[in-house]
């Protein structure tokens, strides 16, 4: 299976317009204003997706589709969002009544309407017919939230097998209800769509997978370095490579205030990195690097810059090795601002020359969630393509 930037764009457009149809359906059905926040085409493994579901305690409704396209779609909510949605659909009725069955049936109905709209969009584009199955409700009690889509979505059933996942973040009712709409087509269906959009300069999907593994390794190294330096025992929660319309990059962050550093890296590829902490995590770092000291703001800033430097080199050093190149890193610039506004200038700078971005995002955290660090890397698209070629099996 080969992928190129043009087909990734097609995927992204399709997923976005499908998601808008889905959002429109909910607006009409429930009278709740629903917006599509970000549409991402992600290359992930089954274990990546499952760990995210487990981490966020997501409940979900699954619908399979077959015909011109085969695969599965999943509408996933946090339990709180699910309850608010049921309440908005049927005000006054206790959402958890009758052992949760009521919630189940209304969530299934919502999923049926939204996912149906979503799939229709794809079928229209490909001028084909797609049938959908009846919805299945899956809660977080189940062992593997994606178990029953194994047979089709993950061809060989391996946990480390890479698949394309289409993820749309939607919001409704003043951000009170958030949900993700996933679509996992089979490999042959991806092939169908790639063919429909032309395939000049396509790269084998293996080189994307190799890059994705390199990102994983980098995140693990960064996590080890943070632990070594601060004594805070961290692990990598998630590490992802996604393809996003450039304006969707800042929109994947909230406007919560974050502290951290921004750096430029140059080489093949060049681009930007932001290492961001929530405020309590930033405090944790400052106090673990300045033990027993009442550090002033300048000392705190330099502690954050120091950890930013360490994290960035941990994250990027492996890239340089794998790509047989050198990557230079600028001095870290300290930031303390609205999260989405920190990323906005980075995306905007790239927006001058590209409409889509490869967004790399990794989360490093402690088991108790007291410490979280998000790493966002935005490589230049053309240079990343060169780097990906380098990773091609044939290269």
């Amino acid at each position: 299976m080969n992928l190129d930037v043009r087909s990734l764009r097609t995927f992204s457009r399709l997923a976005h317009s499908g998601a808008e149809k889905a959002a429109g359906s909910l607006t009409t059905l429930a009278g709740i204003d629903t917006y599509v926040n970000v549409t991402k085409v992600e290359l992930g493994t089954k274990s990546d997706v499952e760990s995210e579901f487990a981490e966020r305690d997501l409940v979900s409704v699954h619908i399979g589709f077959s015909g011109g396209l085969d695969g599965h779609t999943v509408l996933a909510f946090s339990p709180e969002s699910a309850e608010r949605l049921v309440d908005a659909l049927m005000p006054g009725i206790d959402a958890t009544d009758a052992e949760g069955e009521l919630a189940e049936s209304s969530l299934k109905e919502v999923a049926n309407i939204m996912l149906g709209g979503f799939i229709d969009g794809w079928a229209d584009y490909l001028d084909t017919t797609v049938d959908i199955t009846t919805p299945t409700y899956v809660d977080d009690e189940n062992d593997g939230p994606l178990d029953h889509i194994e047979a089709e979505g993950f061809e060989n059933g391996g946990d480390d097998e890479h698949v394309l996942v289409f993820r749309n973040q939607l919001e409704a009712a003043d951000n009170a209800i958030e949900f993700d709409l996933y679509m996992v087509p089979t490999a042959s269906s991806i092939g169908t769509i790639v063919e429909a959009s032309g395939d000049d300069g396509a790269l084998p999907v293996e080189s994307f997978a190799a890059f994705s593994e390199m990102i994983n390794d980098g995140a693990n190294q960064a996590s080890e370095d943070i632990t070594a330096m601060t004594g805070i025992d961290t692990t990598v929660e998630v590490s992802r490579l996604s393809f996003v319309p450039i304006e969707g990059v800042p929109m994947s962050l909230t406007d919560a205030v974050r502290r951290g550093v921004v750096l430029e890296f140059s080489g093949t590829p060049s681009g930007y990195i932001a290492i961001l902490f929530d405020e309590p995590s930033a405090e944790n770092i400052a106090s673990s690097l300045l033990p027993g000291m009442e550090g002033d703001e300048a000392m705190r800033q330099s502690a954050i810059q120091e950890i930013g430097n360490i994290t960035t080199s941990g994250f990027l050093d492996g890239w340089a090795n794998a790509l047989e190149t050198t990557i230079d890193i600028s001095p870290p610039k300290h930031v303390h601002d609205i999260g989405s506004a920190i990323i906005d200038p980075l995306a905007t700078d790239l927006a001058q020359s590209q409409e889509y971005a490869f967004l790399i995002d990794s989360t490093i955290r402690t088991d108790d969630d007291e410490f979280t660090c998000d790493i966002y890397a935005l490589p230049d698209e053309t240079e990343l393509r060169k780097a990906l070629k380098q990773l091609s099996p044939a290269a």
Binding site: E20, I32, D33, M251, I338, A341, I343, D344, P345, D349
Partner: protein
């Protein structure tokens, strides 16, 4: 095909979210919101007589021929005005408030024309002047991010930043 500009659904919750490279118009007392302006610029337009308001969140100064119009200052101002006029606003009465366009980082890519933030502010002034629209209040430049809320009924623009809290333009 215009798939990236969110079609504004009928306002029922009283808040309309404007994404990045997006704009929206309200004629029914809704609040228009947009967040995470760094170098991006927010353009709030208000017709005091009808209470029709519009908010745009643009990324870059000037559009090329085939670019996505909502992403650029010049084309998004034009489209926003068009949509406001379509629901009854009058360009002669419309006033503007602008916020954003900061320069948070010194990127090596910046050329002699100044930062993207500065260029966005300049492009906004030019675009608005082209329609004879006065900028009656502004909070632009600097090196910090902003989030905005436009009360469409009054034209009040609330600007929130991480360090100095919220103030009204």
């Amino acid at each position: 095909m215009q798939v990236y500009t969110t079609d504004t659904p009928a306002a029922r919750s009283g808040r309309i979210k404007v994404g990045i490279a997006d704009f929206a118009v309200s004629s029914d007392e809704s609040t228009l919101t947009t967040s995470g302006l760094g170098s991006c610029i927010g353009v709030a337009l208000y017709d005091p007589e009808t209470g029709i308001s519009g908010l745009a969140h643009a990324m870059l100064p000037n559009a090329d021929d085939d670019s996505e119009p909502a992403k650029f200052v010049d084309t998004s101002v034009e489209l926003l005005l068009e949509e406001m006029r379509a629901v009854g606003a009058d360009t002669d009465r419309i006033v503007a408030k602008i916020a954003g366009g900061s320069t948070m980082f010194d990127f090596t890519s910046a050329d002699g024309d100044g930062s993207i933030g500065d260029r966005n502010v300049a492009a906004t002034r030019t675009a608005l002047a082209g329609f004879g629209i006065d900028v009656v209040a502004e909070d632009v430049g600097g090196s910090h991010g902003r989030s905005l809320e436009l009360e469409s009924e009054t034209g009040d623009l609330r600007v929130r930043s991480a360090k100095s809290g919220t103030h009204v333009l």
